[in-house]
C-alpha cells in the first residue's frame, strides 16, 4: 500500500479531501446562507411562538407586552415626571410609545445577539449551517415582535388624533433600514458574546445608557438647550435616535420635519449599510471558531 508512506496532508490532497470545518469564502458563505433562508425564517417564528406557549393567554401577550410597556413609560415619564417639555400633549403619548417600541427593537436584537451563539452551543455543536443564521434569525424574531407592537402603536396614534395618512408608508423603509442595522449589530455582539459570555450581564447597562441618551422619552433639542450645540447634534445622529425620529415623523401628524436632523435619510441609510456589512464580515471572519470553549 503506497498510501502509508504519504503524510496525512499529502494523502488528503491526493484524494481531494478538504479540511473539515474550514471557513468558506465570503461569496460562498452568502450562497450557503441564502440556501438556509427557510430555516432562518422558521427558526425565528418557532422562537416567537415558543415564547408565550406556556401562558394561559398565549399569543395575546405578543400585543399585551408592548402595550403594558408603553403604559409604564407613560405613567412614569408622562404623568409623574412630566418630561414632555416642548412637546404638545396630543403628540407626547405617540411620541413616547413610538420611541419605546423602536428602541426596544434595537435593544432586544442586541441582547438576543449576545446570546445567539453562546446560548445555542448545543445547536452549533450538533448541526452544520452557516452560523450567521442564528443572529439573523434572532433579529428577524424581533422584527416580527415589532410588527405586533405596531398594532398597539397604530391604536395609540389614532386615539391621540392622527388619522391614517400616506406618510405611514414611510415606516416600511424605516423599519427595513433599522432591521439591517440591528442585524449587523446582533452579528457583532454574537461574535463578542461567543468569546465573552459576560457581555450578557454588562449589556443591559450599556443599553439603558444608550436609551436615555437617545431621547426615547424627551426631545433632545429641547432638553439640551443651553448645552453646546454639537452635543445635541451628536446625540441626534446616533442610530437609535435617527430611526426613532424617522418613525415618529412617519407616524405622527404633529411631529414635523423641523424635528429631524439634517440629511436624516442619508444618515439612516449610512448606519444600516456600514453596520450591516461590517457586522456580517466581522461575524464571518470567526465562522470556524464558533462552538469551541
Amino acid at each position: 500500500m503506497s498510501d502509508t508512506t504519504l503524510s496525512p496532508a499529502d494523502l488528503a490532497a491526493k484524494h481531494g479531501l478538504a479540511v473539515s470545518g474550514a471557513r468558506p469564502g465570503l461569496f460562498e458563505y452568502c450562497r450557503q446562507l441564502w440556501g438556509r433562508r427557510h430555516f432562518i425564517l422558521s427558526f425565528s417564528q418557532a422562537k416567537l411562538t415558543a415564547q408565550y406557549s406556556q401562558a394561559k393567554l398565549g399569543q395575546i401577550w405578543q400585543v399585551a407586552t408592548p402595550l403594558l410597556n408603553a403604559l409604564v413609560y407613560y405613567f412614569i415619564f408622562g404623568v409623574l415626571m412630566n418630561a414632555k417639555r416642548g412637546i404638545p400633549s396630543d403628540v407626547y403619548i405617540p411620541f413616547l410609545v413610538t420611541g419605546v417600541f423602536v428602541f426596544t427593537f434595537t435593544q432586544n436584537s442586541v441582547m438576543a445577539g449576545v446570546r445567539a451563539i453562546s446560548g445555542n452551543l448545543g445547536l452549533v455543536r450538533a448541526l452544520h449551517f452557516p452560523r450567521a443564521s442564528l443572529p439573523i434569525s434572532f433579529a428577524l424574531q424581533q422584527l416580527q415582535q415589532l410588527l405586533f407592537s405596531m398594532i398597539v402603536l397604530i391604536l395609540v396614534v389614532v386615539a391621540s388624533g392622527t388619522m391614517p395618512m400616506a406618510s405611514w408608508l414611510l415606516m416600511v423603509p424605516v423599519l427595513a433600514l433599522q432591521f439591517v442595522f440591528n442585524t449587523g449589530l446582533a452579528m457583532i455582539m454574537a461574535r463578542l458574546g461567543s468569546k465573552t459570555p459576560d457581555l450578557a450581564q454588562l449589556m443591559p447597562f450599556v443599553l439603558r445608557t444608550w436609551m436615555y441618551a437617545s431621547g426615547v422619552m424627551f426631545s433632545i433639542k429641547v432638553v439640551l438647550q443651553g448645552k453646546p450645540h454639537w452635543l445635541a447634534q451628536v446625540l441626534q445622529v446616533n442610530p437609535a435616535a435617527v430611526y426613532m425620529d424617522l418613525a415618529r415623523f412617519a407616524m405622527i401628524d404633529g411631529y414635523g420635519a423641523h424635528n429631524l436632523p439634517p440629511h436624516v435619510w442619508l444618515v439612516a441609510v449610512g448606519w444600516a449599510l456600514v453596520v450591516g456589512v461590517a457586522g456580517f464580515v466581522y461575524f464571518w471572519k470567526a465562522e470556524e471558531q464558533y462552538g469551541r470553549g
Binding site: P8, L17, S20, H38, R125, L127, H128
Partner: protein
C-alpha cells in the same frame, strides 16, 4: 465488509480514504468550574494577573490528545472507551463542529452527526418540530413535505392517537426520543456518525431503528458509531478505535480491540 470491495477502491486498487485525522487535539475552556468560597476574588485576581486559566474558576479540559487515523470508504468504525474518554468530542471534531486546537481533520464530503435534538423546541408541536428539524439539517421544504408522512409513521407517535399536533413537552421521554431519532434519520449522509442513538425507545422501536441504521450505512461511505453496547459494536462495525483519556489506545479489527477492551475493563 469484504463483499463489495471492488466499489471501495480506485482504478489502481488503492482504498479511498474518506476521513483523515492528523494529530487532533481538542481543548475546552470551562468558565465557572471553581465555585465555592472566594471564587469572586479569585476571578478578580485572575483578571489582574492576566492568568491564562490554570487558576480556580476557569479551567482547560484537554478532551482529545493527538489522535490520528485514516478511515476508508465502506468501513464501519466503532468508537469505544469509558465515560468521558473523548469519544463524542472526537466525533464532533470529525464533523467539523468543534474546531481542533491543534492538528487537522480532512474529510470527503460533509460528515454529519445523527442528531437534531438541539434544534427542536419542547414548546412546539411535533408537527412543527419535524419541519424545523428537517430545515435545520439542511433539507429543503419540498424534501420535508415528501418525507413528512414517512417520518411520523416511523416514529409511531400517532399509533396511540393524534399526538403529533400536541406540543413536544407533553410527550413521554420515550416518545420524544423516538420522534427525534425519526427526524434525524430522515436524511441521507456521506459520512454518518451515530452517537448512542440505538439506545432510544422500546424494544420494538430499537429493532426498527437498527434496521434504519443499516439502510443509512448502505448509502453512506463511512459510518462511525459511538456506543457502550459491545453487542451493537460487534454487530455493525468492522474496525474499532479505543479511546482512553483522549488518547487513541488501540486501532484495529473489531474482535481484537473489543477483546483487549473487555480484558482491561472487565475486572
Amino acid at each position: 465488509m469484504a463483499e463489495d470491495n471492488n466499489r471501495l477502491a480506485d482504478a489502481s486498487g488503492e482504498r479511498i480514504p474518506t476521513v483523515i485525522a492528523d494529530d487532533v487535539h481538542i481543548v475546552y475552556t470551562v468558565n465557572g468550574a471553581g465555585g465555592g468560597r472566594g471564587s469572586a476574588t479569585a476571578a478578580l485576581s485572575r483578571i489582574v494577573k492576566r492568568d491564562k486559566g490554570e487558576s480556580r474558576g476557569m479551567r482547560k479540559v484537554h478532551a482529545v490528545r493527538g489522535v490520528s487515523f485514516t478511515a476508508y470508504r465502506g468501513e464501519a468504525i466503532g468508537l469505544i472507551g469509558t465515560n468521558g474518554s473523548g469519544k463524542s468530542t472526537l466525533l464532533r471534531a470529525i464533523a467539523g463542529l468543534l474546531p481542533p486546537a491543534k492538528g487537522r481533520v480532512y474529510t470527503n464530503g460533509q460528515p454529519s452527526l445523527l442528531g437534531v435534538n438541539a434544534a427542536l423546541m419542547n414548546e412546539l408541536t411535533g408537527e412543527r418540530n419535524v419541519i424545523l428539524g428537517g430545515l435545520a439539517m439542511g433539507m429543503s421544504r419540498e424534501e420535508i413535505k415528501e418525507r413528512y408522512e414517512e417520518i411520523v409513521d416511523f416514529s409511531g407517535i400517532n399509533e396511540k392517537g393524534d399526538f403529533i399536533t400536541l406540543p413536544m413537552r407533553t410527550y413521554s421521554s420515550g416518545m420524544a426520543a423516538r420522534l427525534r431519532f425519526s427526524i434525524a434519520a430522515a436524511k441521507d449522509h456521506d459520512v454518518l456518525m451515530i452517537d448512542e442513538a440505538l439506545a432510544t425507545g422500546d424494544r420494538k422501536f430499537q429493532i426498527r431503528s437498527e434496521e434504519r441504521i443499516r439502510e443509512l450505512r448502505k448509502h453512506a461511505g463511512t459510518v462511525f458509531l459511538v456506543s457502550h453496547s459491545i453487542g451493537s459494536i460487534r454487530d455493525t462495525c468492522n474496525r474499532v478505535l479505543w479511546l482512553e483519556r483522549g488518547e487513541l489506545l488501540m486501532d484495529g479489527p473489531t474482535d481484537e480491540v473489543v477483546k483487549a477492551y473487555q480484558k482491561e475493563t472487565g475486572r
